[in-house]
């Protein structure tokens, strides 16, 4: 099986800078999967993913002259995507309140299972677990959400997160530690709510 040749970002960027519209479209299509994955995993509530990806690509074109080639181009774009998502999350100042009583039945069961260390998960419960994790993460600060999501949900390494976000590894560890402390507090509060 012949592998696809790697995309020539340098050549494409040269043509984009020379106002080649076909090259610009090619660049967007090439980077779209990477950008949409970041947007989907960090999408703020009530924000359409297509609108946010469009905003990211427009920023990319506006700042293209600032790209010096210090990092690979996809990493540079992913940093724009990450900061745009964080800005959107910050814009949603009010975080939804998280209470045991408001959880749908399947999410409450899932949380109960996890807290009581029961391992019998029905096949369809992964989605409930996912939604529950999203609700818990929504309680955190945007930067902390992003770190925990990448570390625990997407199982990225510190080096990968550093490349995507541009944050150094110590800062990532600090944010992860702080985020887990907050999550632990939420878990405790939920357990107390359940008992009461």
């Amino acid at each position: 099986m012949v592998e696809d040749e790697p995309f020539d970002f340098a050549g494409c960027l040269e043509r984009v800078r020379a106002r080649d519209q076909a090259a610009s479209r090619q660049l967007v299509e090439q980077l779209y999967p990477q950008v949409i994955r970041i947007v989907r995993s960090h999408l703020p509530r009530r924000v359409a993913e297509e609108d946010l990806s469009q905003e990211i690509f427009l920023k990319m074109f506006t700042r293209l002259d600032q790209y010096q080639g210090a990092v690979p181009f996809p990493h540079w774009v992913s940093r724009i995507a990450v900061t745009t998502c964080i800005d959107q999350l910050r814009a949603q100042k009010r975080r939804p309140e998280f209470r045991w009583a408001d959880l749908p039945e399947e999410q409450a069961d899932m949380l109960d299972n996890v807290m009581t260390d029961q391992r019998d998960t029905a096949p369809g419960e992964a989605l409930a677990a996912r939604e529950l994790v999203e609700k818990l993460l929504a309680q955190l600060k945007p930067e902390d959400q992003m770190v925990v999501r990448m570390l625990d949900l997407e199982q990225k390494s510190l080096a990968e997160i550093s490349a995507i976000t541009g944050w150094n590894q110590t800062l990532i560890k600090v944010r992860a530690f702080r985020a887990r402390r907050k999550l632990q507090k939420f878990f405790k509060d939920l357990q107390q709510q359940e008992k009461s």
Binding site: V28, E29, T62, L64, V133
Partner: protein, 97 residues
């Protein structure tokens, strides 16, 4: 590993099993739309961001101009009143002498 870490890792490992079947390819026409919109923004001068201050700058300059005109007008009228009063005083003094 603390009890919370164990519970959290258990929850996220279950969450990871949720399949994401959404398409990751760009929707039809997306790239063309973005490129068309960016046509006016790409290669903008670094100081292009200052354009938003242009209106404020214009308003501030207009206000300064108006203030200068007003000050000039009222300043002159005060000056002319003072000059008239001085003239009258001098005339009176000369007449008395």
């Amino acid at each position: 590993m603390s009890q919370f870490d164990h519970q959290w890792q258990e929850l996220v490992s279950r969450a990871r099993q949720a399949p994401d079947t959404r398409d990751v390819d760009a929707p039809f026409g997306f790239a063309a739309r973005v490129v068309a919109q960016s046509a006016g923004t790409y290669g903008a001068a670094p100081w292009a961001g200052l354009e938003r201050f242009a209106v404020r700058g214009f308003l501030a300059a207009s206000a300064c101009c108006m203030a200068a005109v007003a000050f000039n007008y009222f300043g002159r009228s005060i000056e002319s009143v003072a000059e008239t009063q001085i003239d009258e005083t001098l005339t009176t003094m000369l007449e008395l002498s």
